[in-house]
């Protein structure tokens, strides 16, 4: 395998990993507050459509990303209204939000662009090469000649880590996820913290969706999120609820997805579908192999009713 092929492999690994990193980082914050939002898929697809429509309306990919974040947050709000506001079961609410998000975006897309889906071409989020860094041999162009959303993900990992583990706000957030009763007794408004964490997760998933539409595909397609919300939730577990590890876990999953290029270059002749299944099998194996030791927030998925 030549250096060109290796570079290509690394580039696609990062490209495939970035949307997962964005969504999983948001979900990390959400889960740390004690809420598991498996409606993330709905936020991602809404972010993709919102990003596409926003980029068309404002004639720019940057504002498209903002619209995507808003759309993702809106879907997060629907989830929060039921799961946090009413205290409904989080798993089932998340499932409904995913089904509804996929359906609603499909319906809106078909109403706007027709059932056949005339290929819609969007202002794209072009890669920006960072001087010097992008010239590092091998990994330089893979990591530092990406769309701006990728740099946003790199920056968010240490920022989210700092907020989570080094600030009073992060302590309150983790307390609501570990021991909501104690947090409430200490004066923390548990449901408000969870709402903010869930909206943040929705916005990040929306940005991930906008990245898919504007930086990857240059178009919107129904179901283009293709299960990334679910994978992001597995990535959170792989990354042990730590934003920095989550970034690496997402890149690891990206690499597993990009492996098909790598193995084909090495001359392995395996069926395409097996390559597609591979990242999921690898994630299952990784979960079984080394996550056993890590622990989810103690109050994850448990609804909270304030005592007043």
């Amino acid at each position: 395998m030549s250096q060109v092929e290796l570079t290509l492999f690394l580039e696609s690994a990062v490209r495939l990993g970035i949307p997962l990193a964005l969504a999983a980082m948001g979900e990390t914050i959400t889960e740390r507050s004690g809420v598991i939002n498996i409606g993330l898929e709905g936020s991602i697809i809404a972010g993709a459509l919102g990003g596409a429509l926003g980029a068309l309306a404002f004639e720019g990919a940057g504002l498209g990303v903002m619209s995507g974040a808003m759309a993702g947050m809106l879907v997060g709000l629907v989830f929060a209204a039921f799961a946090i506001g009413l205290g409904a079961d989080q798993i089932i609410t998340g499932t409904a939000v995913t089904i509804g998000g996929l359906g609603m975006t499909g319906a809106i897309y078909q109403a706007r662009f027709g059932a056949t889906g005339t290929e819609l071409s969007l202002p794209t989020l072009a890669p920006v090469a960072i001087p010097v860094l992008s010239e590092i041999p091998l990994v330089g162009s893979a990591l530092f000649a990406q769309a701006p959303t990728a740099y946003f993900a790199y920056l968010m990992a240490p920022i989210a880590w700092y907020l989570l583990f080094k600030t009073a706000w992060g302590l309150e957030l983790r307390a609501t996820g570990e021991a909501p009763a104690a947090a409430e007794a200490a004066g923390v408004r548990v449901r408000l913290v969870r709402l903010v964490a869930t909206l943040f997760g929705g916005a990040m998933a929306g940005i991930a969706g906008a990245h898919l539409a504007l930086a990857h595909a240059g178009t919107f397609a129904e179901n283009m999120s293709a299960g990334k919300g679910f994978i992001a939730i597995a990535v959170v577990v792989l990354g042990r609820w730590n934003p920095i590890l989550v970034l690496f876990a997402a890149l690891f999953f990206g690499a597993a997805s990009a492996l098909q290029f790598f193995l084909q270059a090495l001359g392995f002749d395996l069926a395409y579908q097996i390559f597609l299944a591979f990242p999921y099998v690898l994630t299952l194996a990784a979960l079984a192999g080394w996550v056993g030791k890590s622990r989810a927030p103690a109050a994850l998925a448990l609804p909270w009713e304030p005592h007043r």
């Binding site: 039921f82 798993i91 609410t93 409904a96 319906a107 059932a115 577990v237 579908q273 097996i274």
Partner: protein, 355 residues
Amino acid sequence: MSAGIAPARAREAALLGLGAVTLTLGAGSVLLLLGGYDPAAAGAAMLRGSVGSWNTFVSITLVRSVPLLFAGLAVALAFRAGVWNIGAEGQLYAGAVGGVWVALTFTGLPSPLLVPAVLVASGLAGGLWALVPTLMRLRLGIGEVITTILMNFVGIYMAAWMVHGPLQEQRGVFPQTDRIIEAARLPALIPGTRLHIGFGLALVIAAVLAVMLRRSRFGFQIRAVGASPEAAAVAGRINPARVVFISFLASGAIAGLAGGAEVSGLTYALYEDLSDGWGYTAIAVALLGGLRPGGVVVTAIFFGALQAGAGAMQRDAGIPAAWVDVVEALVILAVLGLDRVRAARAATSTVEGGA
């Protein structure tokens, strides 16, 4: 946790379901109006396409409801035991592959042996697909929500690989298996219609589950573990791991039958996109049915009608079929919302000493 979404009395569950459907129809109509469609035309098209005639009802609606019925029962059983099996979709595909493999391989068997063999194989394959998440939960303590979802993707790609590779039709043109022989096909339940005995089998399973849950010792254990594994272990001297193990695998097997019955009763071949997300729709079916086998039968037929009607709605009223997914989501949210209101009212009346 499952106790919170499984009302104690059948009458309450039915009222909840009716309320949810009413809310959904209201909210759905408003959304359709906002989208610039005519809700009345949509409703008329939907009724025509689902219950417009006896033959439409039997050959389209009821036929469509069969996989939803199996998968809905699978989800209901798991949820009652506190097992979050979101993996019916993958188990369904595994069952379809297992069933079609037996049908294509043991072609020498007479029909009375081959048909049961096909169904047993699909159940076993579905159960096998559930075994991985079951063991990961019981041995490693990894939640089944994530693992069952991951197994869905593996199942879908495994089936896709089968129809492109080992099980592809002899001509090797299309991504599908050869059609299975007559002897492997499920006979018609009502002669002259497309409804096959898979529907009858699903009703039998629903009856067995209903009796088991209400009357048997194991059914009691399932309900106890679903309500609280710790309490069941301490107070009832129940082994929660054993209950979870059996109900998780049984749930997978029933979901596998959904795939087996579809390929041997309707399509007679395995295709890449056999299921239209039925494993996920099954969650709505199970919830709206109050996690009760009897309720699931009613709601599976209701969703069968929705899916049958969606086609007519798209053809006759120009409304994208994706709206059916929106309706599904609204149904789930309506059930959740109403259930929370019910729980809040029950709590208030207890506090006030009314009970």
